[in-house]
Chain length 203, copies 2
């Protein structure tokens, strides 16, 4: 119905369950495309290039950045992370729903670049649950866990800037909420102005 | 999750299918309450008091109006129509989703009285389909049909003031869109401020 697709930004503390939610969402919604970030950090053992991230060199990252091909980027633990622009714009022009999994600073940048984008903040049921989830990841050391919890608190404090707020207690419910948000947003009058004009002009 | 329920205003030209949609919606969503309007007009043969309308005398209507018990009202074909205030506020306090089926002037009043309410405009697929649907209603005379189409055109021109726009081509899809809107609206950050404050204060 719309000429362009819907851009949805998903943020949430590390351990809020973003990846689980997105894997489920992709299964349910064929029109959804999930943007893959670029990073200069080394892949973890289980991570696959082009699936979890595009693992790139710092030189490549910088070239892309300078040529305006990175929508938002951040430096984190000495590494760069960024969202490639080209696939996002291509998918939006094809009418797809494009999902960006990014942190709060990046989300703010996207809101400015794409004012009609929609943002969703994913919350773990509590900080206690968040800590438990982080501990289950064997890759994380104690110091890293503490650091992530501090970061999470900072992010939660900025969650009020988001359009929607989902508490990820039961995965299926959270996915259903995101599906409902996508479906509802497509019916927003502000997104249907062309159709409405057409109806009015034919009336 | 919310302390108060969601107020949803549904408008659309006569023949857009509001009643069919609401009957289906009530079957699917147990938390939905549909406000019943008062009117001073005589019931049609198939109309039941307390189901389609509360059929009241003009004297009763005026007393309710003067005591502030009518949220919005309109005069139409020499008769009064109005939305009783009390059930709406009671249901909202109980956390229900309350649906008001009202015309465009009334919708504007509700928007001012309940700024966090949500409005949905239901469109027939085309004016031609609208005319066909009106003709199928045996109760309508030719002059009445022409008058309703003129009114519809005026209403469609004001549809841009609504939050959401649904084209009622296939009933099940339109109902599913309204369900998605209700589900999504409940996740709006603006409606979850209390929960978010609690999480932030405990962080």
């Amino acid at each position: 119905m719309n000429e362009k697709g819907l851009l949805l930004v998903l943020s949430g503390p590390s351990g809020s369950g973003k990846d689980t939610i997105l894997t489920e969402l992709e299964k349910r919604e064929s029109n959804v495309k999930i943007s893959i970030s670029m990073t200069t950090r080394k892949p973890r053992e289980w991570e696959i290039d082009g699936v979890h991230y595009y693992f790139v060199t710092e030189a490549y990252f910088m070239r892309q950045l300078e040529s305006g091909q990175v929508l938002e980027h951040a430096q984190y633990g000495g590494n760069y992370y960024g969202t490639p622009k080209n696939p996002v714009d291509t998918w939006l022009n094809e009418g797809k729903t494009v999902i960006l999994k990014i942190e709060v600073q990046g989300a703010e940048k996207i809101r400015n670049l794409y004012p009609s984008s929609v943002s969703v903040f994913l919350m773990p049921p509590s900080l206690k649950v968040l800590e438990e989830r982080l501990r289950k990841r064997e890759s994380e050391e104690e110091e890293e866990i503490s650091r992530r919890i501090l970061t999470a608190i900072g992010e939660i404090k900025r969650s009020i800037d988001y359009d929607y707020y989902i508490i990820n207690d039961i995965v299926n419910y959270a996915v259903s909420d995101i599906c409902a948000i996508i479906q509802a947003e497509k019916q927003k009058t502000s997104r249907m102005k062309n159709i409405i004009s057409e109806v009015i002009n034919n009336a």
